[in-house]
Symmetry: C2
Subunit: 237 residues, 2 copies
């Protein structure tokens, strides 16, 4: 799941899709989400799509990597290269700032390539990456903090896809309420293991009746939850 | 309210009081909370206490400022000066980094000086400051994001002191669960308008039975609140 708000200052905001998917039915399904410099993430996706190459040089390696690990390596290398090139262009080739944070981006790569298992990687601007595990079952990138407490408290690995989407919407709502840099529309997609195709995908648009209802009911439920907590008494703490 | 965790990296954590109060019964009561570089905030408090001066030069201006606004100006000027001096000592007097963020700190100054009204200021490293208002009724400094959504949702200007403390503890708990840089003990104090003395103060220690109960019940209440939200259905969003 990803929001679509991008900003270069509060008076320069736009809507861009930050969730890209690739599928080869029966063989691979891959989703890539980006946070950070939009020019960097768009350049990365164009390179992965090989749209920058002339037709007879096209070699869509994203669709040829034999494993998710090799794909994460490939995406990480491309990401680092894009950032290094943009940093060099901005600061000069001999600059000490070879990885200028201004041009940085962090990615989440998720999916499955047959016959491997489905997995998720978080890829850093330096090109290295970490993988989900039983102990760290989800990743967040971008403006992560406001929405994190509810994920830590309410995520359950046995929850249904629908319940997971609802929880993620609540998490995004917490961020949207606190921060101008995240906003609807929200894109989401669901991948079921060993299906090699995204089972469903959708967009929660601005004004979406379900999201508005969720947001206002969530606000009420939180107030009620606070009121139901054991009372604090200053005289007898 | 303030936590007491300070860190210089995850393997160098300590407990320090970050909440300091001064009182002149019947005339003024002032609380100062700091976030940022601990050496900066401690130097600031020492200067405000005038402990750096020889006895016959002592002039505890903090206890002489005639208004909260003038006190905020004084604290802001001292803060900026401490940061500038530490930056200059570290980077050289001619450095372009006259206000090195490494030595930065942000303060909350709250209290009342007779015959003025009680108020709260947030003071920036540059020495300037903003004041609470009906639209912005509270301030957070330091690791603010994890704990902010619940404050935005559940704060009510008519809530009792005890309910406000409970809400702040829930907010701190959200941060503690997500982040190593904030932890118990938590210090708090309560000031009642026109009392010119802190009505009560206390510390929630590690292992505090009330806090543990609050934290676990809050986790359960959040899960129940999520479960009570309207269901998301992929087929009919």
């Amino acid at each position: 799941m990803s929001d679509t708000r991008t900003n270069a200052g509060v008076d320069n905001i736009s809507t861009y899709k930050k969730l890209t998917t690739w599928e080869v039915p029966g063989e691979r399904a891959v989703a890539l989400l980006g946070a950070g410099n939009l020019a960097t993430t768009q350049a990365l996706i164009s390179r992965l799509d090989e749209r920058t190459k002339i037709p007879d040089e096209r070699n869509p390696s994203l669709l040829q990597a034999p494993t998710m690990f090799q794909l994460a390596t490939l995406v990480g290398n491309e990401l680092r290269q894009v950032i290094a090139e943009q940093s060099s262009a901005a600061n000069g080739p001999d600059s000490a700032t070879q990885m200028d944070p201004t041009y940085g981006a962090t990615m989440i790569l998720a999916g499955q390539i047959a016959p491997g298992v489905p997995t998720v990687f978080m890829i850093y601007p330096e090109g290295n990456f970490v993988e989900v595990s039983d102990d760290t079952p989800f990743f967040q990138i971008g403006e992560t903090k406001y929405g994190r407490p509810i994920l830590l408290r309410a995520y359950d690995r046995d929850m249904s896809f629908d319940d997971a989407i609802r929880l993620m919407l609540i998490s995004f709502d917490s961020t949207i309420k606190a921060n101008l840099s995240v906003d609807l529309p929200i894109d989401w997609c669901v991948y079921e293991n060993d299906s090699y195709a995204f089972e469903s995908r959708g967009r929660i648009a601005i004004g979406d009746a379900y999201f508005n209802s969720l947001s206002s009911q969530w606000g009420e439920a939180l107030k009620e939850a606070v009121a139901s907590m054991p009372a604090f008494r200053r005289t007898d703490p």
